[in-house]
């Protein structure tokens, strides 16, 4: 059967989401893999780095060469404990590694070193905040340490998996420390299941980013989600057969994949069919899933304790000292900042979406008002970043620079427009804002004589505007500001111009 036929068949069987939720209760489950941002790998001292030339971040341990022995990265263990604590888990007093054995070229040893019956963290929960502020609790089954696998590229004439002639393997990722977080089955989600799925993954991402243990860039695979979906009739009490959609690698895609699987399952079950327990592939372009591998013999991983590694023992002192240093949970921090800054809900959401929470917090800490910090980051800095095709957070603007610019505006040295020019010059390496203003003589024309002359000229050239102002239409003054700005190369203060116009007309604005 071709993929197209399969997709068409799947599509034909979809039930509307509303009907699906009315007929069935969805049950979700998540396995989230988090790549740690340690300097070196989980069991070897080769670099843990993204984007380097293939097979240059590997040594004999990563390549599974005979006679080599792994040694555990202590920092990775510490990161796992910290994550376990942030997920409200119990930390195992004693745990060990196990071999998960499967034959596939992405794993050179023919097993993945993982944890099986003794995960380092278990029985936790994470409170997930939904769009309307409601909190939904997702229970955590376990979080365990393991290593990532190499990266395969299928090559061949057709460029499709099923037409591939051979595969190419890059082991740079092999051995990168991973923590796999396994949720307990999530029930009671109802129609909010897709939203809960999205919020859950987003929360996990925020937590690991907040802990500083992962770069948490989903587009790079630092955080990857497998989403399990099954449906049961209300009151059935027994879970249905589940599908596992693998490697859903964006927050948005998690929501879409869960929605799609609920509709697909509902369509099949309503038509009297049954769900095949299988992995599914998420296809971003069509927002559908397609059939992957059916669960089978190959899932017998023959786990056994890793004889090359000794057990890990966590003392209460160690765990408690790590707990004491945990950062404020992201959700709590966001609530605190929103209240402190007084932003509207939509404003705050935009700040989060733009990834500028840290920057604004730092700018406020440097003395800017929350409104000023937001104005700069969400306005001119975002605009410049967009024009330069980078994220605003990495454009290179320091919070102190914003404060300096704002001080220059407050002191009347420059106006908003000049400040924006100064920022751009600063980004292009022209120096600190005050220096740029001085070097280029960008101060607002405060010499009343020069400004008055410019105003007079503008008034003389625009008698009709002057008549309107005389007639009481103060807003018409705006039409004079443009010419004055032009005359003073943008360095006039608009308020001052207005004042001078009224003075000359012996009028008072009040």
């Amino acid at each position: 059967m071709t993929t197209t036929t399969q997709a068409a068949m799947d599509a034909a069987e979809l039930m509307s989401f509303e009907d699906a939720i009315e007929t069935f209760e969805p049950v979700l489950g998540f396995e989230v893999h988090v790549e740690l941002n340690t300097a070196s790998k989980m069991f070897s001292s080769a670099p843990n780095a993204f984007g380097d030339e293939p097979n240059t971040n590997v040594n004999e341990v990563d390549l599974g060469m005979p006679g080599t022995l792994p040694v555990v990265n202590g920092k990775a263990v510490e990161s796992a404990i910290r994550l376990g604590l942030a997920l409200n888990c119990t930390i195992a007093q004693r745990c060990r590694f196990a071999r998960k054995q499967y034959f596939y070229p992405d794993t050179p040893k023919n097993w993945q070193t993982s944890q099986y019956d003794e995960p380092i963290a278990f029985d936790g929960f994470v409170d997930v905040e939904l769009d309307d502020g409601e909190i939904f609790r997702v229970e955590i089954e376990r979080a365990h340490m393991e290593e990532d696998a190499g990266k395969l590229t299928h090559a061949g004439t057709s460029g499709r998996i099923h037409g591939a002639d051979y595969s190419l393997v890059d082991y740079n990722r092999a051995g990168v420390p991973l923590i796999e977080i396994v949720s307990k089955p999530v029930t009671g989600a109802g129609s909010r299941a897709p939203e809960i799925a999205r919020a859950y993954v987003s929360t996990i991402r925020d937590i690991v980013k907040g802990l500083g243990i992962s770069d948490a860039r989903m587009e790079r695979g630092n955080v990857r989600c497998d989403a399990n979906v099954s449906l049961m009739r209300p009151g059935a009490g027994v879970f249905g057969t589940r599908s596992e959609t693998k490697n859903v690698n964006s927050i948005r895609a998690v929501e879409h994949a869960v929605t799609y699987e609920i509709r697909r399952h509902a369509g099949i079950l309503s038509a009297g069919g049954s769900i095949v327990q299988e992995t599914r592939h998420w296809k971003e372009d069509t927002r559908t899933t397609s059939s992957g591998r059916v669960k089978s013999d190959a899932d017998d991983y023959r786990y056994f304790p890793e004889p090359d590694l000794v057990p890990i023992v966590t003392t209460p002192q160690w765990v408690e000292s790590l707990r004491a240093e945990l950062p404020e949970p992201p959700a709590k921090r966001r609530r605190r900042l929103r209240e402190a800054w007084g932003y509207a809900e939509a404003e705050f959401r935009d700040v989060i979406a733009a990834g500028l929470l840290d920057q604004i917090e730092e700018t406020v800490a440097h003395g800017a008002s929350p409104a000023v910090a937001r104005k700069w980051w969400m306005g001119e800095i975002s605009r410049l970043a967009n024009a330069r095709d980078v994220e605003p957070a990495v454009l290179g603007v320091e919070p102190a620079t914003i404060v300096e610019l704002n001080d220059l505006i407050q002191a009347g040295t420059i106006n908003d427009k000049i400040a924006r020019q100064v920022l751009e010059l600063h980004l292009d390496g022209a120096g600190a804002p005050a220096q740029i203003v001085q070097d280029r003589g960008l101060e607002v024309v405060s010499d009343d004589g020069a400004l008055a002359a410019a105003v007079e000229k503008a008034m003389a050239e625009n008698p009709d505007v002057v008549e309107k102002v005389k007639g009481g239409k103060f807003k018409a003054i705006g039409a004079l500001i443009g010419p004055v700005m032009k005359e003073t190369r943008g360095q006039a203060d608009a308020g001052k111009v207005k004042e001078i116009v009224l003075q000359k007309l012996n009028m008072n604005s009040s």
Binding site: H33, P54, V71, P307, P311
Partner: protein
């Protein structure tokens, strides 16, 4: 009496990706049975007061500092590869089991299971 059946050996052979003839399966079933029975004698030697262990050394928490050490060049890494292409190991396509790999045309992040 051993618990190893011919079906067990067939199952293990499948998992290990080893093709075995009928004669080999017969032979391996009896050989594995002897090995398992021999190892079982160890269980008889260990009393109830001996806890199960995965490791003979009385050590825990053997950690390494998170410091980058040596890595191979791509040339060194590939020195033993039967085949290579574009600084990568070239391997036969194994397709029916794949749920992580990517095609050259639709790159995406795969990863550990």
């Amino acid at each position: 009496m051993s618990e190893i059946s011919r079906a067990d050996v067939e199952h293990l052979a499948t998992l290990a990706h080893i093709a075995m003839t009928d004669a080999e399966l017969e032979k391996m079933t009896s050989e594995l049975a002897v090995i398992v029975d021999s190892v079982k004698r160890v269980q008889e030697a260990a009393g109830a007061d001996v806890p199960a262990t995965s490791h003979p050394l009385p050590l825990t928490n053997v950690f390494r500092d998170d410091v980058v050490g040596h890595a191979f060049t791509a040339e060194e890494a590939l020195a033993n590869a039967p085949e290579a292409e574009d600084s990568r190991f070239k391997v036969p396509a194994i397709l029916n089991e794949d749920d992580d790999a990517v095609t050259a045309n639709t790159p995406q992040e795969g990863g550990a299971r």
